[in-house]
């Protein structure tokens, strides 16, 4: 119940997951919450905020809140809404201590952000129109193959052969996989191939922007060991993952709420 006082809060109302992070005046993480995103964004974020504040009291008065993510404008208690690009850059810069290329792969979108030496966004690219370059691609096909999410990475890494998946579209990939299974191709090989498809798309997006090491991976998919390994292999540089990859957006929003200059907003 006691502990460092909360000076600011960031809310990342993503479409797949909803996250809140509370920071101290020094920018340290005081506490956080993460849960599956629900359609009623305002309700969910309000409950999460209340829950967080019960455990982590504020220093004085009203705590500043910045919201990011798909549902950011629905977080009434937030004083400001900032895009997840700016917030992720800020969060990753703070968590890792450096800029470089950030690849964030979420449930419904993926983005590449060039972070400058001061934590500001230098350039960015997004894939938010096609599921094939996002976590959804893996989730969906894993569900069809009846493989639990947490086994995806390990099983893909351990697979002896890699089955190439040629379909560029999630829906067509599904038909292709059914056909492959019917021909007796082992599941693990297919899993590895699926990961390869996703990673190829991510690499294409990164290449379009240009690789500027160090390369950081964030978002839910960052926890997948196979994605991380394949990215490292294809980009030819080490790919680092911060301690809480899913919280980078909310952390960045919280830091922006703290308000020191040079944090990317007017």
């Amino acid at each position: 119940m006691s502990g460092p006082h909360v000076a600011a809060i960031g809310v990342d109302a993503g479409s797949t997951t909803c996250k809140v992070v509370a920071v101290t005046a020094e920018g340290g993480v005081a506490g956080w919450r993460l849960e599956r995103g629900l359609p009623r964004v305002e309700e969910q974020t309000a409950l999460l905020l209340d829950d967080l504040l019960r455990d982590h009291p504020v220093a004085t008065g009203r705590v500043p809140i910045v919201a990011t993510g798909y549902g950011r404008r629905l977080v009434r208690r937030a004083e400001r809404a900032v895009t997840e690009i700016t917030c992720h850059a800020r969060g990753v810069f703070h968590a890792t201590g450096h800029g470089g290329t950030l690849l964030d792969v979420g449930g419904q979108d993926s983005k590449v952000i060039q972070i400058g030496p001061d934590g500001r966004v230098v350039d960015f690219a997004m894939n938010d129109k096609c599921a094939a370059g996002t976590g959804r691609f893996l989730e969906h096909t894993a569900a069809r193959l009846d493989v639990p999410l947490e086994e995806l990475g390990p099983r893909s890494c351990a697979a002896r052969r890699e089955q190439a998946i040629s379909s560029t579209c999630t829906v067509f990939a599904e038909s292709e996989i059914i056909s492959l299974l019917a021909h007796g191709v082992p599941v693990d090989g297919i899993l590895r191939g699926l990961h390869r498809s996703l990673v190829s798309r991510l690499v294409a997006m990164v290449r379009t922007l240009g690789v500027r090491p160090p390369v950081t991976l964030s978002g839910g998919v960052a926890q997948n060991s196979a994605v991380r390994a394949m990215l490292t292999e294809e980009l030819g540089v080490e790919v680092r993952v911060p301690a809480h990859p899913q919280l980078m957006g909310a952390l960045g929003a919280a830091l922006l709420a703290l308000g020191p200059p040079g944090n990317g907003t007017a």
């Binding site: 379909s167 560029t168 067509f172 038909s175 294409a204 290449r207 379009t208």
Partner: protein, 444 residues
């Protein structure tokens, strides 16, 4: 010209290369003859013997290109450009579209497209352009090495995309770009349009001369036009032989053997090649040999081929006795032969280069297709809805509708792309083709 380059050219191409390619042709011919001996029951006839010679000619051309830098001036040209003046000035002509088609056929186009996409070029752009820009930017040579241009020569009679594409190349290579802009013929060609094209060709001459470092020899120009005319007439004759039943050659033979008429038109060897090809086609007719052994149905193919699936498509249809006997794409390089006039090379060029099928109206294209359906006795039409080629593809919906309902010939649109296999779904295409074949069979 630097001595080493001349020496490499003479040795690499002149001495070693040509001999090696000749030997390769002999080997291929032997292989083809052996196949004829063996394959009495295949659904498709073995390749034309002449295709070995075609490969030799095209390979020689690319080999010359490989060694050309420092020896000959290089011009990159569009497939419909009035290139005779450049040939007369001894430019080594590179056709980026042909190179891209080769990449497509060898399944290397996607890699080059990806290079272009990484550089920021949209996937919605023509896959020939993306293949070419990707090759130029990456410096990779998936199929063969192409020399940098000294001059870019672009004619808009095939599309406006080449204008945007060649501007990109001009910016990248920092070389002069000559544009011959051919007004689109919504109706019959008018005097001011012909004058405009003529003036542009005339204006191109001093620019080309400056780059070539020599003056345009008109007697040579006339010779080249005469050769082009002859070759085009022969090509047309070859294609028209497919009106015969069974068709001795298919549109696939056309796609495979069209290289010389596009890239080497004007050279004497091209004339001889098509004479040889015509003779072989006539032999097939005399022997009653069809490109498809048991030809039961005949089809017209509209638009560019699907370069990376020629074998698959040919096989799938041939097993059902379907022969693609005509293509308005290959026909384009033959049907303009009557307009070519060696005595008036520039005036006739102005007419010729205004009239390729892609520069004529959608109504004109329908008339051409109807004529071909009739002349080639077609039971159906496949319209390849090529997402890379708007001038060819926009209008197909209305054309298909008229063909199916007014002319009464089964016709369908096949969605794909000429070089980018990512825009092609084999399952979908295969299903639709099979349904189409069944439709044609039911109507027999």
């Amino acid at each position: 010209m630097t001595l080493p380059a001349q020496v490499t050219y003479a040795m690499g191409y002149g001495l070693v290369g040509r001999a090696a390619l000749w030997r390769q042709r002999r080997r291929e011919e032997r292989g083809i003859r052996a196949r004829w001996q063996r394959e009495q029951d295949g659904v498709v006839a073995p390749p034309l013997l002449a295709s070995a010679r075609m490969k030799e000619l095209m390979s020689r051309h690319y080999l010359q290109a490989r060694y050309a830098t420092g020896v000959r001036k290089v011009a990159w040209v569009t497939s419909g450009a009035p290139v005779e003046i450049l040939q007369a000035l001894d430019f080594l002509l590179v056709y980026p579209e042909n190179h891209a088609a080769l990449c497509g056929a060898r399944r290397k186009a996607v890699d080059m497209c990806v290079e272009a996409e990484h550089a920021g070029y949209s996937r919605d752009l023509c896959s020939y352009a993306r293949t070419d820009i990707g090759t130029a930017l990456s410096g990779k040579a998936p199929v063969t090495r192409i020399p940098k241009p000294d001059l870019l020569f672009c004619c808009t009679n095939i599309c406006q995309t080449v204008l945007y594409w060649y501007r990109v190349l001009a910016h990248h290579f920092e070389v002069p770009l000559v544009v011959v802009d051919t007004p689109f013929l919504f109706e019959a060609a008018q005097p001011h349009q012909v004058d405009y094209v003529k003036q542009q060709i005339e204006a191109a001459i001093p620019i080309a001369e400056r780059v070539a470092g020599r003056q345009l020899p008109f007697p040579r120009l006339r010779q080249i036009v005469a050769s082009s005319k002859q070759a085009s007439e022969l090509w047309l004759a070859v294609l028209n032989r497919a009106q015969h039943r069974p068709a001795p050659i298919s549109a696939f033979d056309g796609f495979i053997n069209m290289g010389p008429i596009v890239d080497l038109r004007g050279e004497p060897e091209t004339v001889r090649f098509y004479e040889t090809l015509l003779a072989e086609v006539d032999q097939r007719i005399a022997a009653g040999i069809g490109a498809v052994r048991n030809e039961r149905l005949r089809v017209l193919w509209d638009n560019l081929p699907i370069w990376y699936r020629i074998g698959w498509l040919s096989g799938l249809l041939a097993t059902r006795g379907v022969s693609i006997v005509a293509s308005d794409y290959t026909y384009a390089w033959g049907e303009l032969a009557p307009m070519m006039d060696p005595d008036r090379p520039i005036e006739s060029a102005a007419q010729v280069y205004l009239h390729p099928i892609l520069n004529r109206s959608t109504g004109e294209k329908l008339r051409s297709m109807r004529r071909m359906v009739q002349d080639f006795h077609c039971d159906g039409v496949i319209l390849h809805s090529d997402r890379s080629c708007k001038p060819y593809s926009l209008g197909q919906i209305a054309q298909r509708d008229r063909l199916a309902n007014d002319v009464g010939v089964p016709s369908f649109l096949l969605e794909a792309d000429h070089s980018d296999s990512r825009a092609f779904s084999e399952e979908q295409a295969g299903n639709r083709l099979e349904a189409f074949v069944e439709l044609m069979e039911m109507r027999q």
